[in-house]
Symmetry: C2
Subunit: 338 residues, 2 copies
DNA sequence: AATAGTTTTGCAAATGTTTTCATTTTTTGT
DNA sequence: ACAAAAAATGAAAACATTTGCAAAACTATT
């Protein structure tokens, strides 16, 4: 069992060439004679040799990894984004180093640090809200970084994402325009989550524009889960005084709300209007189909992938990111107030 | 801009000690005097020095990464598993290298190879079905590996997962026992997907035990998406000859089926029974709540994490994996045939 | 067959760390 | 104050590669 793994020297010996030649046949194949290369390749296969990226990285060669830190992968929220980002980045020969911080910004810093120890070629973070330390670290090491999901002109780093404030505003305006005046909101905890906060601001401003606001006990805060949202909303509508519309911070919460209303026999949208934000997989096909604001995760993921790869390539050149606009999707869960 | 990043030698110079001491103060702090360590730490902070794992890895020191290759992260299916696995593994100081192969086993091999180049300390794959090459590669490099999601006694490598055949069997028996005789099945494509295949076998055997089988045009194959399943099922029930039960290969597909029936005004479970497999987030709270078989993703993820870490630690010692039993959850979408 | 040019190869230094062993410094017991 | 023991540090070799430069081996041209 102790046959140690083959290294480049073993290969060189077995193929009767120098290590340099083996190295070259990997990295600059055009510089080595076809015959030699063939011989080397055969030997490599015979010995089961696998290059050691770590030893390359040491020479300042790019390791081909990109760090991606997300709050969570558990729920539907980021999976579409992660998928498209990683797919695109893999096409370019990169592998992603993934970690989640559970909405703890301190933990995010620690993870970023560890990824830097691994000498990732670039980093991608979710949202614009990060600890000073994290920003400082990335800047100081000048690691190419993109911020995903949220876009802002004055972000400290290139970002590609949507305008979450606008998303909130769009849905808020829509609901108000339908004539609703008694409006509730169900949002996730906003600490460490600038996306949710921006959305909430957007909604509030939309209401404020008509002199409306969300009553204190109609502001529900729930974790990201169908189940939690369902419970909260079920309680909400059990009171005699009911809102005519419930604006949810994201689609998962809206699904929960929808299930709650269905169980209680409240008609949507006749009795209550429900809206989401996100347009996750499944929202379009929900019955009734969910009115929401599309945050184009797929587009964001692939644009971000393109950007980070460019950033890693051009080093100096600072590309500036991109705003992918949110889009209001009026479907069947919203209707005029009765 | 050209101030090259600080290395251990720069730190040593600035702190007026030798590189060895700096190294030690990181790796064996107890061997260096408190005062010196303090001086070093300060210098490290001042210069913004970050250790280079690549340079450590070269010395055979574990890099602290574990490769995780999944078919896809896009859908709900694996996200719970990925989350719990990565969370647990991070607790132990590892970072995960994630990639998805899109159900292409050839691609999986290429990814595994690349991860081995990065000298991951261990690997985790989904399912038991992998190309000969992949198995050979992992064995030959003797990289600690766990197979997730599916369990089988005679798997070629330690696996922790559920018994997908049994899962299919459980749900099949349940449906048959309710008196259904006209049964349809909606499954994902089974190529490169042993989980789905096992489930289907389980269902078929359950039916066969009563002399039943699924008619040719009642075997629907659809991609993993609510939308695709919804369409297929909508078409299915538009024919005069209708099944009284539809067994879905996983919960996502079942959701699609449920939405289709709702749209068509078919009562569940009065007119048609629907079942899923997986018990994803949201299935319990669906209205009506989904009868399904629980594949305990969370448990699998954390047990697998424990196992791989143990495997990496003990090197030689071969732990054997674990079967996490599936559990039938009878909820509201299944009922006796009328 | 000799020359010049080109292609292919090898040597040796370099990369950023860890580790073994030897040396220096500090502590302890008298 | 002194030797012996213990603790802290440094020098140098090792790790698996890449690369600049020079040498060697071919080709083409005369």
């Amino acid at each position: 069992m102790k046959e140690k793994k083959a290294d480049i020297i073993a290969v060189a010996k077995a193929a009767r060439v120098s290590p340099s030649t083996v190295s070259r046949s990997f990295n600059h194949p055009e510089l080595v004679k076809a015959a030699t290369r063939k011989r080397i390749d055969a030997t490599v296969r015979r010995l089961g040799y696998i290059r050691n990226r770590a030893a390359q990285t040491i020479h300042g060669i790019r390791g081909g990894t990109i760090g991606l830190i997300v709050p969570t992968v558990d729920h539907a929220i980021f999976s579409e984004l992660i998928q498209s980002f990683s797919e695109r980045v893999e096409e370019q020969g990169f592998t992603i180093l993934l970690a989640s911080h559970g909405y703890r910004l301190k933990r995010e810093y620690a993870i970023a640090r560890k990824m830097l120890e691994h000498r990732v070629d670039g980093m991608a973070l979710i949202g614009l809200e990060h600890s000073e330390d994290t920003y400082g670290l990335l800047q100081q090491q000048n690691t190419p970084t993109v911020l995903l999901w949220n876009y802002s002109d004055d972000a400290p780093m290139p970002c590609v994402g949507s305008d979450n404030y606008l998303a909130g505003r769009l849905i808020g305006d829509h609901v108000v325009r339908l004539g609703h005046r008694s409006i509730a909101a169900v949002f996730p905890p906003i600490s460490g989550n600038d996306r949710a906060l921006q959305r909430l601001y957007g909604v509030e401003d939309a209401l404020a524009a008509r002199g409306l606001e969300i009553a204190g006990d109609w502001r529900l805060e729930t974790p990201y889960s169908v189940s939690a949202a369902k419970n909260k909303v079920a309680r909400l509508i059990s009171f005699p005084q009911r809102p005519t519309a419930i604006i949810c911070g994201n689609d998962v919460l809206a699904w929960g709300a929808l299930h709650a209303l269905r169980r209680e026999g409240v008609a949507v949208p006749e009795d209550v209007t429900i809206t989401g934000i996100g347009d996750f997989h499944g929202s379009r096909d929900f019955e009734p189909s969910l009115t929401t604001v599309r945050i184009p995760a797929h587009t964001i993921g692939s644009k971000a992938a393109k950007l980070i790869v460019a950033l890693i390539g051009n080093e100096g050149d600072s590309e500036s990111g991109e705003l992918v606009p949110p889009e209001l999707l009026i479907r069947s869960t919203s209707g005029p107030v009765r």
